[in-house]
């Protein structure tokens, strides 16, 4: 109730309807004197004189193709100029290559012979006349291991195309080529990198940077030659253009056009829409220029008529095929650079493509920028340690970037639910109505008003991904990540972490004349010891606890000890190399040479990243322009992530270049450092050394330690923290740095990786309540747990009211037992993944049961199943007791309150209360507050149709005889009072229900229409359903008083 009313207040000030927001858009536009009609096309191209003008554009996507005539590989760069013209730049002349170590005694004049031999070996598998362009003899050094900084001979074999290279690589690695009567069997170097990335590295092109084509160096194609829908098509040699590093002026972003869209399908009752049967009835579109706040194109394509919508073009179509065609034409004309949406990759695009094919709309599947290349949906599987395995569709849209916000969310954020509604509620604080797909058909088959209703819903779904993206600054952050790591934009979503490190590694190696071996990746399960954890001293600390953190621990260890592939020393080589200075790491006596012999490559990369981050952070402080600030913040974040992923790269055993000596040494150093920090702090800050108290480390994990200095005020704790950080830093090799970051006061240490505390960085005002590993985000818990734990922590740590927290916990338990807890708090959700579980699971069993009840509305694979646990026979397993929350509401099935108490609440509650109350914590779960219970009577169940309710006295609950309807004769005197009380209850409930109803009306944006929403993520929805029932029940009770007068 209280949560609801505050919500209501907040909402009252917010714009009440989505339509109003649309109207506002138009107002602001007319103020800008822009025409009411929305212009789709891009700005026209100014006159360009190839002899005088240079062309400058930001490339956003790079791919490769093969010249149809010469069969040469060609790079295609798609981009946007500063005034918003689209550019396709063909880069020619770049050839793929790799290295092999030269055979012993190899001479310059052996080259042509070798070329012949290899060509002969390749030719059976490759029809090219001249698969090898040429072979060069170079001096390079392998990145693997330290060998006295001596370069050795390498052969750079340059191919005329990629396939020939791959054949040659295999043959050479397998030893299938003979040279001078001997088998040529060599490890290849740099052969396992894609052509596009090779090009980008060699030409110093990073992801999404600016490219300048100087005058006289390029060929501007005339209209007749155009192969794409881009406004400019240009040819240039790969060594003739200028690639600007994304710094200073060149960190700007071109006015990218971002299309956000959503489709609606008219499904049949109970069946998920099928593209061979169910029509696409609406497509809503929002097009925004990057950096602008509002979409400049807003339209919706509707099948059949639709009433006008403010500030929106309604494009009515009367034929399904024509509508799809119209939308395709719209996409081509608007020519978006980025296409976003919610689940567009796996639903909207495949559906549109399948539907178009079914309707035989031949021109539809050409949505990319290349003419004549058909857009198709293919299945892909993406597997990464960091992100898990996901099966996705891949939609080819040449020259356009795709950002499916659902995938972004799943990748970057851990949430309870990934429906658009709950994601928006989480990040935007904005709910949307959720129309069940079975209602959509009814709306479509209604009149133009009902279709307008649907269109507004569809438009909202189209704009929300855009808002979400703006709010989370996805484009900026991803662009910056692409720039920092040097990979194309689309790798960021489609590839894992490794490719980013590889890109940087190759770039640095290229500069230092190093070559990287192409290792065959061998999966091994070798696990090395991870980070250390200092055993926590559990308890509730009502004194300030200072936290000292190593900043960028792993990167700084690698820098400090010069850990790298290039400095790794093989014991066998020590004698050979003679006089070398090296360190032996705590891991398995791995040896690395010191920095004066050779500066490692990884340390160099890391130093660059860290100093770039420092710079970005410094710039960020100075910058005032919010947009530039966003860019800089995105950059420093990208730099931080990149620096940390370098360590992971060396430890990835299935990776491209794993080196256990590096990664294991890093963690071993890390462990040592935590231990050393503990010793240093505890031996320095003692009473013996003149301090007030003995300092004590109560907990430490990976890169931080928690110190109890013993002082009781924040100012002293912070001063000591700073001093200790500096003191310990001095004991370590540079640039390892221990930093004082924050003080927790008070601090509740529950266990390893489980704690909570009030977070202070300045002594006047706390920053936030910080929790780690406590049941607040885990999704297999119900919301109730989350809320109770959060509130209890809040009361304990912020209000310092432990008994208040206890009271609150007891009150909640008591409410739970009396069925006063809102159903939405009790819902547990779980994704329905595999169709066969070996062990029975509640959500899976429920889905099965729901399918029997009604196959149409039952959850399907991939859906999140929401369930509550209901009462059942004694000893029944949880999977027998799961039930659909809506079914429970409708049939008044009793909730198994004991399950929630014992299996959900008890452990988390005890965990946070035990450090404070000790054994007394148990008293939370039993006691007087658990002695008032309510047992609901369901409307279904085997015996319910035979049972008769006997009225009980409203005063004292004794069963009534037939002639009494409200109270027993003992309670008669209190009749008036009881009636008044009941009347009050009814009134309260009615007000409550009315409020919820208007809340939902506000959310849907109209106070005149019925509510369609059935969002299972929305707490209001459950409350509304419950309130409706309560009102009814209370009214029934009230009627029993009727006899009295």
């Amino acid at each position: 109730m209280s949560t609801f009313s505050t919500r209501n207040k907040k909402k009252a000030n917010a714009p009440s309807s989505f339509e109003n927001q649309l109207a506002l858009l138009q107002d602001s536009e007319s103020a800008n004197a822009e025409k009411a009609h929305q212009v789709w096309t891009r700005p026209s191209v100014p006159n360009i004189d190839p002899n005088r003008d240079s062309i400058i554009f930001q490339q956003i996507e790079i791919d490769d193709t093969i010249d149809p005539e010469s069969r040469e590989p060609i790079i295609r760069m798609f981009g946007i100029t500063e005034i918003g013209n689209s550019v396709l730049c063909y880069v020619t002349g770049f050839r793929p290559y790799f290295y092999i170590p030269a055979p012993i005694g190899f001479k310059e004049n052996d080259l042509s012979n070798l070329q012949k031999q290899i060509t002969r070996a390749i030719q059976p598998e490759n029809s090219l006349k001249k698969p090898i362009e040429r072979i060069e003899l170079t001096f390079k050094e392998s990145i693997w291991g330290y060998h006295g900084n001596k370069k050795s001979q390498f052969l750079k074999i340059i191919f005329s195309e990629v396939r020939a290279m791959n054949v040659a690589r295999r043959l050479i690695e397998d030893g299938a080529i003979k040279y001078n009567e001997r088998q040529l069997r060599e490890m290849t170097f740099e052969s396992n990198i894609s052509y596009v990335l090779r090009f980008m590295i060699d030409c110093k092109v990073t992801g999404a940077n600016w490219i300048e084509l100087p005058p006289k160096n390029y060929n501007l194609r005339t209209n007749s030659l155009e192969t794409s829908t881009c406004q400019l098509e240009i040819d240039i040699k790969y060594d003739r253009f200028i690639s600007h590093p994304p710094e200073g002026e060149w960190s700007k972003v071109a006015p990218l056009r971002i299309l956000s869209f959503d489709i609606e399908c008219a499904g049949r009752k109970g069946i998920f829409p099928d593209p061979t049967e169910d029509p696409v009835i609406q497509i809503a579109n929002m097009v925004t220029r990057q950096g602008e706040k509002h979409p400049f194109i807003r339209n919706v394509f509707t099948l059949n008529s639709c009433a006008p919508i403010v500030a929106t073009d309604v494009i009515e179509c009367y034929d399904q095929g024509k509508m799809l065609q119209a939308w395709r034409d719209f996409v081509i004309e608007v020519d978006p650079d980025v296409i976003i949406g919610y689940n567009t990759t796996n639903f909207d695009f495949p559906y549109l493509l399948d539907r178009a094919q079914h309707l035989n709309v031949k021109k539809f599947p050409y949505l990319g920028r290349m003419k004549g290349i058909k857009t198709e949906a293919k299945d892909t599987k993406f597997s990464s340690k960091a992100y898990g395995t996901r099966e996705n569709k891949f939609i080819n849209l040449e020259g356009r970037l795709q950002l499916d916000m659902l995938q972004v969310m799943q990748r970057d954020h851990k949430l309870r639910s990934y429906t658009l509604n709950s994601v928006c509620a989480h990040f935007l604080g904005e709910q949307k109505e959720e129309v069940h797909h079975s209602i959509i058909t009814d709306l479509q088959n209604g009149n133009d008003e009902s279709r307008r209703r649907l269109a507004i819903y569809c438009l909202k779904d189209a704009i929300l991904p855009q808002r979400l993206m703006d709010k989370l600054m996805c484009i900026i952050n991803y662009l910056e990540m692409a720039r920092v790591t040097g990979v194309p934009f689309n790798y960021l979503l489609s590839r894992g972490q490794q490719i980013k490190v590889i890109s940087q590694l190759y770039r640095k190696a290229f500069e230092q004349n190093l070559v990287i071996p192409a290792l065959k990746s061998e999966g091994s399960d070798d696990q090395f010891e991870g980070a250390t954890v200092i055993e926590p001293e559990r308890g509730f600390y009502n004194v300030p606890i200072a936290t000292l953190d190593f900043s960028s621990l792993y990167p700084s260890i690698m820098i400090a000890h010069n850990l790298c592939y290039t400095t790794l020393l093989d014991i066998k080589d020590i004698d050979k190399l003679g006089d070398v200075d090296y360190i032996t790491t705590p891991y398995n006596n791995a040896k690395f040479v010191k920095v004066h012999h050779r500066k490692g490559l990884l340390p160099t990369i890391l130093e660059d990243l860290l100093s770039a981050r420092k710079k970005a952070k410094a710039d960020l402080k100075k910058e005032t322009d919010p947009f530039k600030k966003a860019v800089l913040d995105g950059r420093q974040l990208a730099l931080k992530i990149s620096a940390n992923s370098v360590y992971g790269f060396t430890g990835a055993t299935v990776g491209k270049l794993p080196c256990i000596e590096i990664s294991a040494s890093v963690t071993a150093y890390g462990r040592q450092m935590i231990e050393k920090t503990k010793q240093e702090v505890e031996s320095q800050y003692t009473i013996a050394n003149g301090y007030q108290h003995d300092a004590h480390i109560i907990y430490g994990d990976t890169d931080s330690v928690m110190v109890k200095f013993g002082v009781d005020n924040l100012v002293d704790a912070m001063a000591l923290g700073r001093e200790a950080a500096d003191y310990v830093t001095r004991k370590f090799v540079k640039p390892i740095k221990l930093e004082f970051e924050k003080v927790y006061f008070p601090y509740l240490l529950i266990n390893k990786k489980r704690y909570a505390g009030l977070y202070w960085t300045n002594p006047d005002k706390w920053d936030k309540l910080d929790t780690k590993g406590i049941e607040t985000v885990r999704r297999d818990n119900c919301l109730l747990v989350q809320n109770v734990i959060e509130t209890c922590l809040r009361k304990m740590l912020i209000d310092r009211d432990v008994s208040g927290a206890e009271e609150y916990a007891k009150k909640t338990i008591s409410d739970l037992l009396q069925n006063k807890i809102d159903m939405s708090q009790l819902v547990i959700t779980k994704a329905l993944s595999k169709s066969d579980y070996s062990a029975k699971q509640p959500h899976h069993e429920l889905a099965e049961r729901m399918r029997k009840r009604d196959a149409g509305s039952a959850p399907t694979l991939g859906d999140r199943v929401a369930y509550v646990i209901v009462k059942s026979t004694k000893g029944a397993a949880a999977y027998e007791k799961s039930e659909d929350p809506i079914y429970v509401l409708e049939n008044n099935i009793p909730i198994d309150t004991n399950y929630y108490l014992e299996n959900q609440l008890s452990k988390p509650l005890l965990r946070i209360f035990e450090p404070i109350l000790g054994d007394k914590a148990q008293s939370l779960l039993a006691g007087d507050h658990t002695r008032v219970v309510q047992i609901a009577t369901p409307t279904i169940g085997g015996l319910m149709k035979f049972a008769v309710k006997t009225a009980t006295c409203l005063g004292c609950k004794t069963p009534l005889s037939k002639k009494d309807t409200a109270v027993c004769r003992h309670c008669k005197p209190k009749l008036g009072e009881l009636y008044q009380r009941q009347l009050d209850t009814v009134n309260k409930l009615e007000v409550h229900f009315a409020r919820l109803w208007t809340q939902c009306q506000r959310c849907q944006g109209s106070l005149h229409q019925d509510i369609l929403c059935s969002s299972k993520d929305c707490p209001i929805w459950y409350m509304r359903k419950k309130a409706q029932k309560d009102v009814q029940d209370a009214n029934n009770l009230l009627e029993r008083f009727n006899y009295a007068w």
Binding site: R931, T937, G942, A947
Partner: protein
């Protein structure tokens, strides 16, 4: 003031054993005529209806009707502390009962123990099954009924009960095989444990869950005989009479089709 003294304390112990498996929390409704309890099991397939008439207690005093909310598990634990021959006295304040006091006296009056059970406030609808005339009424030995249920449980989780003019057949079908027990009408008066009487209006055939029937047979110690009432598409009644002291009735919904 509420006070009830039960000379055969064992009766109460047996009663609790019979119902605590089915019901966890329930209200004992006390009034001038006696103590009653009606409660459904958690899955709403079975209902327990219990009556202890005031005549069974000496003395019995209840000034006004009120409810005692009891956690049956706790009550059963306390009753375990009473000896089988003990006299049990229940006492409570009928105006604002927050606890029930129990007093156990040994027959020779040498040992008196007193316990207090904290009561619960149970908000629950009061449900009952209306009395009906059953198409078939069977009276048989309670021990025999218990044995049949136990035996057929080996075969299956559910049992079919078919009543014809002169015999009643319990049968079960399971994965491993089938089994059935047929009892013929046997009005032998001299051996009551073998007595089977069938009163029949029309023949019936119904299916029930054995798991529940097994729970019901926990009432066996209360009475030598059990009465079964069956009608097509109606709940089964299983009744154990405790002479004049009262009765315990179990109702069980018939199994329909797949369920």
């Amino acid at each position: 003031m509420f006070e009830a003294r039960l000379s055969q304390g064992a009766l109460l112990k047996k009663l609790l054993e019979a119902i605590k498996e089915l019901v966890t929390d329930a209200n004992f409704d006390c009034n001038e005529t006696g103590i009653a309890l009606q409660a459904m099991d958690n899955s709403h397939v079975a209902l327990v209806s219990l009556l202890l008439r005031s005549e069974g207690f000496h003395p019995y005093r209840c000034d006004r009707g009120f409810s005692l909310g009891v956690n049956l598990n706790s009550l059963s634990k306390i009753l375990k502390c009473a000896g089988n021959d003990d006299i049990i006295t229940l006492k409570a304040d009928d105006n604002s009962a927050d606890s029930l006091s129990l007093c156990f006296e040994s027959p020779s009056n040498e040992r008196v123990s007193e316990y207090e059970l904290k009561l619960m406030d149970i908000d629950q609808e009061h449900l009952s099954i209306p009395e009906t005339d059953y198409e078939a009424t069977i009276v048989m030995s309670s021990v025999e009924f218990q044995r049949i249920c136990r035996d057929l449980m080996v075969i299956s989780e559910s049992v079919s009960i078919d009543v014809a003019k002169d015999a009643i057949v319990f049968s079960a079908e399971g994965e491993m095989g089938t089994g059935s027990v047929k009892l013929k009408q046997n009005p032998s008066v001299d051996k009551p444990e073998e007595q089977v009487t069938i009163e029949l209006n029309s023949s019936v055939s119904l299916q029930f869950s054995l798991k529940y029937l097994m729970n019901f047979t926990k009432g066996t110690p209360l009475s030598d005989q059990v009465m079964l009432g069956l009608s097509e598409n109606m709940p089964l009644l299983v009744e154990y009479k405790m002479d004049d002291a009262g009765y315990i009735r179990f109702y069980l919904a018939p199994k329909v089709g797949e369920e």
